[in-house]
Symmetry: C2
Subunit: 302 residues, 2 copies
């Protein structure tokens, strides 16, 4: 019988003391239904943000206890299948986001789905590119609201986190206490007005400890053709420096390049990119192509 | 007879009082040979940065006086043809760049060209993607060393600035006093160790005032499929905010979108990206797809 959580099984902060609502074995597939970031509170364009219950934003479905995971273990989470359902919601809020100084009118906009496109104002039809905004594990201590990104994951809003990708996390508690939510049907890097196409969805996952990766700086992403180190901090400058250092650690400590070769190649073929700048913690990623590390004999242990 | 400047015709700071070395008509093609950012001082891997004459870095070829350009005019500069010649040079310098805290050894690395690839350490063969690091016009006042990016252009190190692209600048002085140099055979976004594949090159250009664009926030880039607003500031956070606001200005003031529609679409299909973080002024760009503005009836006046 398939293991599945419906979207009423949510939590609003990653923390060490959450009660798991499901237990899975390593490598076992499981399915999570997810809410949009407003927990479905905005049902039409008449529902504005000033009526929102802010205690119910950024729900993540879970937490899921993964068997035989111990603190310090690096966990590879595979996003086997990601889909969005229903419709998308976007909002503007004066004072919030990068253009908050310009935006004067609070507004809710509903975007319908049509033939794998998201339709904006019945005018602009945008190809869907579903992604997962909030994804993570319990932090080492305390309680981190799901709206915040940090070393445990959380609201990274990284456009790379989509179907077919693996995301690596370091477990801080037994079982890791995994959860995710806040899908976007499509979103640009930066998420500059504070939202993408916010949508409910469903995701199929599996998770497995990779012993050889103990010590990897996480969160870390692997796609079919690149690696990405993700870091969040109070400024984009700091998040960028952290993500760059974390990628340099992979290249020197795991792929055994000299620091000079790592730096020069990162300057040549690596890309420093923006995930989001509005959470208000900022998130950056450093992308590096897998083919270059293959030439140095490095592949991720599976 | 073709108008061409050889690479001995360089200047090291954009300023209002430069003497033009060539005069061209609007729309007239001209060719500039360019030095690498070290003015060719590093000829082999034995030439280290500690022997460099720092008064001769980031040369730009020019300045070129463009006829009938007046202060306040927006100038479209078309990069008709960009090629690199010779070989590329890369350097590491302890204390400099994002990994300056990790890099202990000063080094110069020469990269040869082979079949449109740049070869690193005789091991990694990287497809060439030639781009222009320094490009700009005289500033409104004073003297800005070519190593610095600002509103006049300068050392933006933006990977979009390549063959086939148009770059828009606002002239601050009669004739604009245009120049460029500091090509890279390939470079990643961020330029994290302070250099790309630094190379001499040659560029074919033409320039033209676009009266309908007066007031456009520049520097601004147009490629075959996107627009990009470029901004530089002391922090990446500030540069990102400025680039985002400049793109919002295009969408609202020139393409006539409401600020809410502009912001929502920028959040959905726009991308905030990093150009460079090491100059030490930081440069960011905001990219927006042209096809979306076409749906709103907007195209760049030609």
């Amino acid at each position: 019988m398939e293991k599945k959580l419906t979207r009423d099984k949510v939590f609003y902060a990653f923390s060490t003391d959450l009660e798991p609502v499901m237990r899975v074995a390593q490598g076992e597939e499981f399915v999570l239904e997810t809410h949009d970031c407003f927990a479905g509170q905005l049902k039409s364009e008449k529902d504005l943000l000033d009526g929102l219950d802010w205690d119910r934003v950024n729900p993540a479905t879970g937490p899921v206890f993964i068997d035989n995971v111990n603190p310090g273990d690096v966990l590879r989470v595979d996003l086997v299948k990601v889909k969005v359902v229903g419709q998308s919601t976007m909002v503007t809020l004066p004072g919030e986001g990068v253009l908050g100084d310009k935006i004067a009118q609070m507004e809710t906009v509903i975007l319908k789905y049509q033939d794998n496109h998201v339709v904006f104002r019945d005018k602009i039809s945008i190809p869907m590119a579903p992604m997962v905004g909030v994804i993570g594990v319990a932090p080492a201590e305390g309680r981190i609201p799901n709206g915040e990104p940090a070393a445990h994951g959380g609201n990274m809003d990284c456009t790379l986190i989509t179907e077919g990708v693996s995301v690596y996390f370091t477990a801080n508690v037994p079982g890791a206490l995994f959860g995710c939510g806040d899908f976007h049907a499509v979103m640009g890097d930066g998420e500059i007005v504070i939202c993408g196409a916010e949508t409910p969805g469903e995701i199929r996952l599996k998770a497995q400890v990779i012993p050889e990766l103990k010590g990897l700086a996480t969160p870390f992403i692997e796609t079919s053709d690149l690696f990405a180190a993700v870091a969040s901090a109070g400024t984009l400058d700091q998040a960028s420096s952290d993500a760059t250092h974390n990628m340099a650690d992979l290249l020197t400590q795991f792929a055994s390049l000299s620091i000079n070769d790592a730096g020069l190649l990162m300057s040549l073929v690596g890309h420093l990119k923006v995930c989001q700048v509005v959470d208000p913690q900022k998130t950056a990623r450093f992308e590096f192509p897998k083919w270059v590390l293959k030439e140095y004999g490095f592949q991720m242990p599976r």
